[in-house]
């Protein structure tokens, strides 16, 4: 499932981690975002929040040492680091809704040029709708990054003029990390900040459902 060119899932996760400031409180969504926890850049300390009630989430347990009652929001077994704290769901979402988390990195089905995010349902007639904490996260966390393959498996663009899937939140995403590029959501539209190795703007534009603005010369 690796693209011939562009970043792997692990590389995308690593790229996001580079942009997280030291000391940040971070919530990681399910999928590629979960991989980010492995890539803390030298000299930084992040505190990971999992909305099912833990601040100070650590890596996966060693084989055979997991506990069924120590899990993350994706229901995978995790560990707790020194300095961790457990709390109930209302306190956990008080952290989220109250703006106490610095960053949330979520997967995406679609991101629109204005930052609208769709990541919980395709809205299909047979789909079982399941939203989890995504709507609370995008409404409350200070900054929302989306990390996603640039296109669907069928090759359809995921960055679009307007989302066709049901929204998770309106105008919430500030930055998008894909296998092909790092893209900022700006009042003018989607602006490319960085292209993956071996990829040019035309290549990315061809795979994008809305106009991409070129990166600004760095000042």
């Amino acid at each position: 499932m690796t693209s011939p060119i562009g970043l792997s899932r692990e590389e995308m996760a690593q790229r996001v981690a580079l942009d997280i400031p030291d000391g940040s409180y971070v919530n990681l969504g399910i999928g590629i975002p979960e991989l980010i926890a492995k890539f803390v850049p030298e000299g930084r300390e992040f505190i990971y929040h999992t909305e099912n009630g833990l601040l100070g989430m650590g890596p996966s347990p060693l084989e055979g040492q997991g506990e069924p009652e120590l899990i993350n929001a994706g229901k995978r077994q995790i560990t707790a680091l020194p300095g961790a704290a457990y709390f109930h769901h209302a306190d956990s979402f008080a952290m989220i809704r109250g703006g106490h988390l610095d960053l949330c990195v979520l997967g995406a089905l679609q991101v629109a040029k204005n930052g609208d995010l769709a990541n919980w349902s395709t809205g299909g007639p047979d789909a079982i709708p399941a939203v989890g904490g995504a709507m609370d996260l995008v409404a409350g966390v200070k900054q929302i990054f989306a990390v996603t393959q640039h296109c669907t498996k069928k090759g359809h663009p995921k960055l679009v003029e307007a989302c066709t899937f049901p929204l998770t939140g309106v105008g919430v995403v500030s930055r998008i990390y894909t296998d092909l590029a790092v893209i900022a959501v700006t009042p003018e539209g989607l602006r490319v900040l960085e292209l993956s190795p071996g990829v040019d703007l035309a290549y990315v534009q061809e795979r994008t459902g809305t106009e991409l603005l070129p990166s600004l010369p760095s000042s």
């Binding site: 899990i71 979402f93 989890g132 609370d136």
Partner: protein
């Protein structure tokens, strides 16, 4: 002397009536009171409205309760799991209703119910399909949706440890919704692995004060849902 312990799971759940609203603690299997749920299946109450973050896994616990046709309506945030088709199948067949609630809104609605707050405003779901039919209102420059407090006739919970007053400690991320549901349940029934003497729990560290708990039942070695699913157990 106040003593909220009851001798059997059967006795704990015997009062739950057809048509009752029942909150069930847990996030996935963490904190799921599986022995209480199985006892509720045995007891036979039906036409239940169940509030839980999920819809169970495999064919044990909550999934088994749903499969047995006892649940008229689920109120939850995430009715999918990797290893259960019980809810999806019944939902597609129109045999169970779903009220889908964002997870933080669900938690806050339960807390509000328990805290005597009939309604509150939250930014979650504004501009999405889950806001439809709900009142919007602006405070400052932002729009919010009005959400109602949730109460239940019963709350079925799992904790690690209790005393005779019903003071509770939980285990790690098995805490999740349970302290909120304890507040919002008219009759809160808790299965615990251990019961200690009054005074043994550090009063600074009690998570659920006993005032929110009506019955405590000791289940010393509770089953883990994932173990049962792996073993292919189907309840009953």
């Amino acid at each position: 002397m106040i003593d909220k312990t009851v001798p059997s799971v059967a006795q704990a759940v015997q009062g739950i009536h057809d048509g009752a609203t029942v909150m069930i603690g847990g996030f996935g299997e963490a904190g799921s009171p599986i022995e209480l749920i199985h006892s509720l299946i045995d007891q036979g109450a039906s036409n239940l409205t169940v509030i839980n973050n999920n819809t169970g896994s495999g064919e044990v616990g909550l999934a088994a309760l749903i499969k047995a046709g006892r649940v008229r309506k689920m109120i939850c945030s995430y009715p999918r799991s990797q290893n259960s088709t019980v809810f999806p199948d019944l939902y597609r067949a129109g045999k169970v209703e779903l009220e889908l609630v964002p997870q933080g809104t669900l938690a806050e609605r339960i807390r509000a119910g328990g805290a005597g707050i009939p309604a509150f405003y939250t930014p979650a779901s504004v501009g999405t399909p889950l806001q439809e039919g709900k009142e919007l209102r602006s405070f400052g420059n932002q729009e919010y949706v009005l959400e109602r407090g949730l109460r239940a006739d019963y709350a079925l919970l799992k904790a690690r440890c209790a005393d005779r007053y019903g003071n509770l400690l939980y285990n790690k991320t098995a805490r999740n919704f349970s302290p909120l549901m304890a507040m919002a349940g008219g009759t809160t029934i808790v299965q615990v692995a251990e019961i200690v003497e009054a005074g043994e729990l550090d009063p600074e560290a009690v998570i659920t004060p006993g005032i929110f708990v009506q019955q405590v039942i000791r289940i010393p070695n509770p089953a883990h849902e994932s173990d049962l699913v792996r073993q292919g157990v189907i309840y009953p």
